[in-house]
């Protein structure tokens, strides 16, 4: 399965390269350094919430509240600054609010057994209402102009949002690859029962994963608001959620849990951001754009569905083979051990 995942990631990269080639052929304006920077900048918000989605998808969950959290934390940060708090503390507290909402989601999902789809859908309603309630649909100006560095500044020529994404992606990848927590995330998504029986703390893993999701979404909100230079209650309520799920899945993170890497998810972001950017650069009509993105997602999810079914079949085949081997060795079998 590791080799299959790697092949899938390489395949996405090849598709991306093909799309770049096509767009570059159609318009010489596409393959320019300025456009590359704009593409990465515009993709940075989606990249951050794709990190959110990747963590929860790996556990077999989903987080529908990330887009709404973007607008919520942006408004909260601006409100704190308006009340006199410094920009760094405002940004930190706003991001923390995102993590808190995520924690709340995780606790509800675990202790009440409510499906993540429902819980995070409800959280989406909460997170999108809070900015409206605070601002009555008006925008809030940024009181501390130093805050704008987060979205409009640069570090050694690299725009800060892109630097933030790189840093977060590397940290996220390290967490998944090299920590016990990361192993537990994969175990939980791979086989919940087996994970529990192996001693994985399901509650802690679930809550932490949703808290992380909320954290990245909160950070995305702060960066998005800084980029705009003003806090809007509608920021992040466009296609960002949809693109983040699509990016993760197209990049190899399975909707069924247990499979996927941050590297793949970020490749998915690159693909989706490139297509979204390229279609405007080469002037594809807005009426066609959702169709094109939809087809690519369908292809990605379709492949994932096939892979999920293959994975289930592989698990069952392995179990039955093991069972038959036990029988032929004369140890008998307990039908009640059949995994779901």
């Amino acid at each position: 399965m590791k080799i299959k995942n790697f092949i899938n990631e390489v395949r996405i990269l090849l598709v991306w390269a093909l799309i770049v080639a096509i767009f570059s052929f159609i318009s010489p304006n596409f393959f320019q350094p300025t456009n590359a920077i704009v593409l990465l900048l515009n993709g940075s918000i989606i990249a951050l919430i794709t990190l959110s989605q990747s963590f929860v998808l790996l556990t077999g969950g989903i987080d529908l509240s990330t887009g709404a959290v973007i607008s919520m934390t942006g408004i909260i940060a601006a409100s704190f600054m308006k009340s006199g708090l410094g920009w760094y503390l405002s940004a930190f507290l706003a991001t923390l609010f995102g993590a808190l909402l995520g924690t709340f989601n995780g606790l509800i999902i675990h202790y009440f057994g409510i499906p993540p789809f429902i819980v995070t859908f409800a959280a989406m309603g909460v997170a999108s209402s809070i900015p409206m309630i605070i601002t009555k649909a008006q925008s809030i100006s940024i009181a501390d102009q130093k805050f704008l560095w987060l979205g409009q500044g640069s570090i050694l020529g690299l725009p800060v949002p892109i630097a933030i994404v790189f840093l977060c992606a590397i940290l996220a990848a390290l967490v998944l690859k090299s920590t016990i927590f990361g192993t537990h995330i994969y175990a939980l998504g791979g086989n919940r029962q087996a994970a529990r029986l192996s001693g994985v703390n399901i509650m802690k893993t679930t809550v932490l994963v949703y808290a992380l999701s909320g954290f990245f979404a909160g950070l995305a909100g702060v960066v998005a608001t800084s980029r705009l230079g003003v806090a809007y209650p509608q920021t992040g309520t466009g296609d960002q959620l949809f693109y983040s799920i699509a990016s993760a899945v197209v990049g190899g993170v399975s909707l069924f849990g247990g499979i996927g890497k941050i590297r793949g998810a970020m490749t998915g972001v690159l693909l989706i951001a490139t297509i979204s950017n390229g279609m405007n650069v080469i002037a594809v009509s807005s009426y066609w754009q959702p169709l094109v993105i939809g087809i690519i997602i369908l292809a990605g999810v379709g492949f994932d569905g096939k892979r999920g079914a293959a994975l289930e079949k592989e698990k069952k085949t392995k179990f039955i083979t093991k069972l038959l081997k036990k029988n032929s060795d004369g140890h008998g079998a307990n039908p009640s051990n059949n995994p779901k």
Binding site: S27, N29, F30, Q32, T34, N35, V38, N42, I45, M132, K136, A137, Q138, S139, S141, Q152, A224, R227, L228, G229, V230, Y232, P233, Q234, T235, G236, T237, G238, D239, S276, N277, N280, V281, I282, A283, S285, S286, Y287, Q289
Partner: protein
């Protein structure tokens, strides 16, 4: 007359009845505080937030109870809001439909239920309305085509009526109202033989999306020197994109005014805008409803001219694109 009525069947006339209510209206119009059912597309656009303020303030003055329903841009939700108002037999309906075709159907249903309809912003299809047995008392709205045309006129005047213009539109292609603005802008701009309109991108009426798509459009069209943003949030995002790409000196932005809270001055790349006064539209329609139900005939259509503003002028806080 009033005393006679009191003696006949415990009927107590209200103050509005004593003032004279038009015949044939729902019974609620004769109540102490008649209900006006208000249907708005959303409250995420500051335009409708301002309109709602105008409605609420005017309703209080005119002695109405405004029952406001927000559809979140969902036609099905508007349908069920219309059904609710029919069930609750409100005195009149203030209808800002999401689209002309569904709005026409809503007006037909309301007419058949005996509820007078006042359409705002999105004008109904009068032929289809008549064919379906519906009617609309009044249609009120900004002159959308006039606004689009005025914006192009500003561009021609400021940049030169024969100058080389490569224009792009930051629009909302799925929206009928903004399409009217875009079409009028394009028609007027193309009176300049040296002008062309290259493409329209979808801002989704969100400044962050507008920023993204404007930047991409500018990168795809390096010679583009005119942008028309047909909504206030579109102007905000387009302006940010122009600044981000450091094109303030080469690209001129026109459009429907951004809120003065978001963009305090018309300056730099932002050369001119046309405004709407949704708070006034909301208030005026409620006044028209009052006139109508108390027996005064009102105009079938009121088209409000959009004011234009250029650099150096201050956009009033109630003016929104």
């Amino acid at each position: 007359m009033v005393a006679l009525v009191v003696g006949m069947g415990n009927f107590m006339p209200s103050a509005s009845q004593a003032a004279g209510i038009r015949a044939g209206l729902p019974a609620d119009c004769s109540s102490a505080k008649p209900k006006i059912g208000v249907i708005l597309p959303n409250l995420s656009n500051p335009y409708y937030v301002a309109m709602q303020k105008g409605i609420i303030a005017s309703a209080a003055t005119q002695g109405f109870q405004a029952v406001i329903s927000i559809a979140n841009d969902d036609v099905n939700q508007q349908q069920s809001q219309v059904d609710t108002f029919i069930q609750t037999k409100v005195c009149a309906v203030y209808l800002n439909a999401i689209g002309s075709a569904p709005g026409t159907q809503f007006a037909i249903s309301l007419t058949k239920a005996g509820i007078p309809v006042f359409a705002v912003n999105v004008f109904l299809d009068l032929d289809a309305l008549k064919a379906g047995g519906g009617a609309v008392v009044q249609q009120l709205g900004a002159d959308q085509a006039g606004g689009g045309s005025l914006s192009a006129t500003q561009a021609l005047k400021i940049l030169g009526k024969d100058s080389n213009m490569v224009a792009g539109i930051v629009g909302v292609p799925g929206n009928v109202t903004t399409n009217i603005r875009d079409a009028a802008f394009t028609k007027t701009l193309l009176t300049n033989k040296n002008a062309k309109v290259m493409q329209t991108v979808d801002s989704q009426v969100k400044p962050d999306v507008a920023q993204k798509v404007t930047a991409e459009m500018l990168l795809g069209n390096p010679k583009m020197n005119v942008i028309f943003a047909d909504t206030g949030p579109g102007v905000v995002g387009a302006l940010l994109a122009i600044k981000e790409l450091k094109k303030e000196k080469t690209v001129a932005l026109f459009g429907f005014c951004a809120s003065s809270a978001d963009v305090p001055r018309i300056a730099g790349a932002y050369k001119g805008c046309v405004g709407q006064e949704p708070k006034v539209y909301g208030a005026k329609t409620i006044e028209q409803i009052k006139l109508y139900i108390t027996g005064t005939d009102v105009p079938k259509q009121i088209l409000v001219l959009t004011p234009g503003y250029v650099a150096g002028q201050r956009v009033p806080s109630d003016v929104i694109g």
